[in-house]
């Protein structure tokens, strides 16, 4: 069964304090790993897709990396506007077209 876990559950950072969020997964035949940002009361906003171990993607202060068992979302010098819940999802070969979502990491960046 495909599974996704995320850690930590919640993270508080000072503005400018870099850190990483973890997404660990077990999946048969990874077809893609996806990162989303979700603000309270809104729909998830797509950030990155990663397909194979060693792949990296960057966008502003965010950088996503992928290994065979986990993905990291690195946040460099975060700002208060980076506060959100970050969701990780995988699509594997056994679940058809569907995603398995992790529970998310709730990030707070304090000024």
């Amino acid at each position: 069964e495909d599974q996704v876990t995320q850690s930590p559950e919640a993270l508080r950072l000072q503005e400018g304090e870099s850190s990483s969020l973890n997404c660990s997964y077990t999946v048969s035949g990874l077809r893609g790993l996806f990162w989303y940002r979700q603000d309270p009361g809104k729909g998830p906003e797509f950030l990155f897709t990663l397909y194979s171990a060693g792949e990296e993607k960057e966008k502003e202060r965010l950088k996503a990396t992928l290994t065979k068992k986990e993905s990291f979302l690195h946040i460099t010098a975060p700002k208060p506007e980076d506060s959100a819940t970050y969701l990780c999802a995988v699509q594997g070969g056994n679940y058809g077209q569907n995603f398995v979502f992790g529970p998310g990491t709730r990030l707070s960046v304090l000024p």
């Binding site: 077809r31 893609g32 996806f34 989303y36 009361g41 809104k42 729909g43 998830p44 906003e45 797509f46 897709t49 397909y51 969701l87 699509q91 058809g96 077209q97 569907n98 995603f99 979502f101 992790g102 529970p103 998310g104």
Partner: protein, 115 residues
């Protein structure tokens, strides 16, 4: 830019009412999805559709049905709303892929309260 819109941001209905949630996407995506999101339970898939007039049950289809008569529109129907269907409902769409996975794009969500 991909745009997924949902008919209502907030909705309040009474127990037993029939409820329609509408979702429209403007990117000619084949796949469309309905999720509900609850605190502590995360995103759970209700129904999805590979293409027009095609639908498949997700993880929690009980109490729901769907309709997809046109490619751009996917409707979620609560046949007889109950209080345990109070939730945030999210629609998503995506281009179809066989070997490669593609990202889903989400709408803004509908916060449904059943009283």
């Amino acid at each position: 830019d991909v745009k997924v819109t949902q008919s209502s941001r907030y909705l309040v209905k009474r127990t037993g009412e029939k409820v329609f949630l509408e979702c429209v996407q403007d990117m000619d995506h084949e796949n469309m999805f309905w999720y509900r999101q609850d605190p502590g339970l995360g995103l759970r898939l209700i129904y999805f559709s590979y293409d027009v007039k095609m639908k498949e049950k997700g993880d929690i289809p009980e109490g729901y049905s769907v309709s997809r008569e046109k490619k751009e529109r996917f409707s979620l129907i609560l046949e007889s709303a109950s209080t345990n269907q109070t939730s945030m409902y999210l629609c998503a769409s995506r281009i179809a892929g066989s070997q490669r996975g593609y990202e889903q794009y989400f709408g803004p969500g509908t916060r449904l309260t059943v009283t």
